[in-house]
Structures are given as structure tokens and as C-alpha cells.
């Protein structure tokens, strides 16, 4: 577009310069003010960066709700799909021994304390041994309540049929008093049952 070969005539440039020196005329100050004010007022709003737009979106309530919903759904899906850890793995002595084996070198590497106290020794005892057999009285005491709790759960009350058979067995053994007590106990448990008739029928069988 620009013709580089075009070289203006020096005489022509003198004429142009003469006119420039004597040219006058300015736009009115009010026109300047109006145009500049319009330019300032109608200046395009700066486009924020991607990071700023993201922050602005996060500050809007509806987007906050959307993000919270997505996060909640993701959390729920994570919880539902989470694979359960088998109890055998947790309770197996192998895993205990593994952790104990891992701890042993650390205990061995640690410099012996100048005045060894009994408490740290108890704390640093290998967990594998604790799992296999109670090594300390504290552990033995801790195991007892567990045994007590598991005992009632293991022994279920005898059924009516079993109770009647036990009564017949006691009577045949001549322990009529014990048989009567058992019958009374059964009557309390099954008040609507005709226990003598059932005993008789059982005896006939």
C-alpha cells in the first residue's frame, strides 16, 4: 500500500510546511470534553482473566449451590463405592506381626535411654505378641470383659422342645425336683402352652 518509490518534491514540502505553520483552528473545548466523557463512559469493560472469571463464578450463590451439590454427590458416591476392608485382614496376626516387624528396627536403632522408665517399654512392646497372648496383666484384664460380653451371645436359650426333653431326662434320672423347677421356668417362658399335655405326648413318642 505504501509506495516506497514516492519521494516528495522539496519545493512541495515547503508549501505544505508553510500552510502548517499558519494553520489555525481547534475543536471547541466543549466538544473535546463531550467526546472524552463519552469515551470514558462507554469504554469497553476489561475482560477479566480466566482465574478471575472462575473466582467471580464461585462468588455467585447459584454457582455456590451447584458446586456444593456436585461436591455432595461426589462424596456420597465415594462413600457408597468405597470397598469395605475385610475384618480378617485387620485381625490377622500376620498384619500385626508386619507392623511389629516394622517397629522393631526402629526400636533397635534408637539409642537406649540413660534412665529407662517402665512405661515406654510397655508402649514399645511388639503388637504381634500382644495379639497372640496377653503378655501383661493389663492386657489380661482387658481381655476379660470381652469374654464376658461374648458369652451370652454364644449361649442361646433352649427351645420348648429341648426344655421338655430335658425335663423328661431329669424325671427319668429321678431328679423330680429339678424337673419341676425346669417345668416352672418353661411355663413362665411359654405361658400359653399346655406343657403337661406336650410332656405326655413326648413321653409317648
Amino acid at each position: 500500500m505504501i509506495d516506497s518509490k514516492h519521494t516528495p518534491d522539496p519545493n512541495d514540502e515547503v508549501l505544505i510546511e508553510h500552510f502548517r505553520q499558519h494553520a489555525s483552528g481547534e475543536p471547541p473545548a466543549s466538544l473535546d470534553a463531550f467526546i472524552l466523557a463519552t469515551a470514558r463512559r462507554e469504554a469497553p469493560t476489561p475482560t477479566p482473566s480466566l482465574w478471575k472469571r472462575w473466582l467471580q463464578a464461585c462468588q455467585r450463590p447459584r454457582w455456590q449451590m451447584a458446586f456444593a451439590t456436585v461436591a455432595g454427590v461426589a462424596l456420597m458416591i465415594g462413600l457408597v463405592l468405597r470397598s469395605p476392608v475385610p475384618h480378617e485382614e485387620l485381625a490377622s496376626p500376620a498384619s500385626m506381626e508386619f507392623s511389629a516387624d516394622r517397629q522393631e528396627p526402629a526400636v533397635a536403632a534408637a539409642p537406649p535411654p540413660a534412665m529407662p522408665a517402665p512405661a515406654p517399654i510397655t508402649r514399645m512392646a511388639p503388637q504381634g505378641e500382644l495379639a497372640r497372648a496377653p503378655a501383661s496383666p493389663v492386657q489380661a484384664l482387658a481381655d476379660k470383659p470381652m469374654a464376658k460380653m461374648s458369652k451370652p451371645a454364644a449361649v442361646a436359650p433352649p427351645s420348648l422342645e429341648q426344655g421338655l426333653q430335658e425335663i423328661l431326662r431329669l424325671r427319668q434320672a429321678g431328679e423330680s425336683k429339678a424337673a419341676d423347677e425346669k417345668l416352672l421356668a418353661l411355663h413362665k417362658r411359654f405361658p400359653k402352652e399346655d406343657l403337661p399335655a406336650r410332656l405326655e405326648a413326648l413321653q409317648k413318642r
Binding site: D3, F34, R40
Partner: protein, 199 residues
């Protein structure tokens, strides 16, 4: 208010930026860039319009219209066109539209036989060129005495500081035609403004 007095608060970095980059910055929301752009071109564009239309009120209307269309438009100079060429083209088109709306004959679009307007130029010597009239009224009268298309080319060169190829692109006239128009305009101006120099 003169051109030198009109100096908006502009940072030094903006002052050295090109017109095109200033316009791009304004389009991206930098209001200060427009003030620099306006300060650079307000005077040349205004004087071009006053001289071309020969009416101050009409020149002000077209001047305002040109800048407001630039503010409200999202376009940029296309191709290799400079901002200056683009700005003066907008102003020229607005003026022609105004003349058309008001039923005024558009002199810039006349087919014009350059040779018919050529008169002998007796003032080609440097001594006579240096003795051009400094009378403002005489300068203005000489400009108005030029044929419209010659005046337009001369004013674009004078106030727009445009090169001849830029003027050719702006007016849609062949480069050789633009060159001849400018040459004839300058010859006539020399003749009209030459003062009697005592021998």
C-alpha cells in the same frame, strides 16, 4: 485551547505507543489510551474537516460523529491500513453521507479533467516560493479556490500527514491521479499566494 495546551494525563508508556496499539488497548478497556489517541489526531482531523466542508458547524458535527462512531465501534483498521488513514476515511465518508442526505452535490465524486484546471505556473523559482503570503484569510481563500478533489488531496497531505499511496487508497483514486491532483493543487496555490517580490 490550542493543540499544545490539550494534554490529557497520559503515562509515558502510552505516549510512545502506536495508534493501532492504543486503539487495541482502548478496545480492551483502557480508557487512558483513547485520550492519547484523541490528543494526537483531534487537531488534524478538525482542520481537515473545516477546510474541506468550509463550514465550522458542519465540521464540528462530522468531527463528533467520527469520534463517537470510533468509540462505539468494535472494529479495527483492516489489513495494512494505518489508524490515521482509517480515521480520515471515516470522517470523509461521514461528510459525503451528510452531503447526500441534504441533497448537496458531492464534488469529491465528480469525474474531473485535471488538464482543464491547469494554468501556467510562473512561480516555480525558490525565491518566489519563500515569499508566500502569510495572511490567514488569503491562505484560506486560496484553499477554497482549489477544485474539490485537488483540495481534498492537498488537505489529506497537509492535515492528515498521509503519504500519496495512503491518499490513493483512502479516496479510491489511482495513485497517478492523486499525484497529478496534488501537483496541480500546489501549482495553483503557489500562483495564488505568490507575493510581489521587489527585484
Amino acid at each position: 485551547m490550542t493543540g499544545k495546551e490539550f494534554a490529557p494525563h497520559m503515562p509515558a508508556a502510552l505516549d510512545s505507543s502506536s495508534d493501532e496499539s492504543l486503539l487495541a488497548r482502548y478496545r480492551n478497556g483502557d480508557g487512558a489510551s483513547f485520550e492519547v489517541l484523541y490528543a494526537r489526531h483531534r487537531q488534524g482531523l478538525y482542520r481537515f474537516l473545516v477546510s474541506l466542508s468550509n463550514k465550522a458547524e458542519l465540521a464540528e458535527e462530522i468531527f463528533q460523529d467520527t469520534w463517537l462512531s470510533l468509540i462505539r465501534s468494535a472494529t479495527q483498521p483492516q489489513g495494512r491500513a494505518s489508524f490515521r488513514t482509517w480515521l480520515f476515511q471515516i470522517a470523509r465518508n461521514r461528510l459525503i453521507d451528510h452531503w447526500r442526505r441534504h441533497g448537496v452535490h458531492t464534488p469529491l465524486h465528480d469525474s474531473y479533467d485535471e488538464q482543464l484546471h491547469v494554468q501556467p505556473d510562473d512561480t516555480s523559482s525558490p525565491e518566489q516560493q519563500l515569499s508566500l503570503s502569510r495572511d490567514q484569510a488569503r491562505l484560506d481563500a486560496a484553499l477554497q479556490a482549489l477544485p474539490e478533489d485537488q483540495r481534498e488531496v492537498f488537505l489529506l497531505r497537509l492535515h492528515g500527514d498521509l503519504e500519496l499511496p495512503q491518499i490513493a487508497a483512502l479516496t479510491g483514486a489511482p495513485l497517478e491521479t492523486v499525484k497529478s491532483r496534488l501537483r496541480y493543487a500546489q501549482q495553483k496555490l503557489h500562483r495564488l499566494l505568490a507575493e510581489e517580490v521587489p527585484a
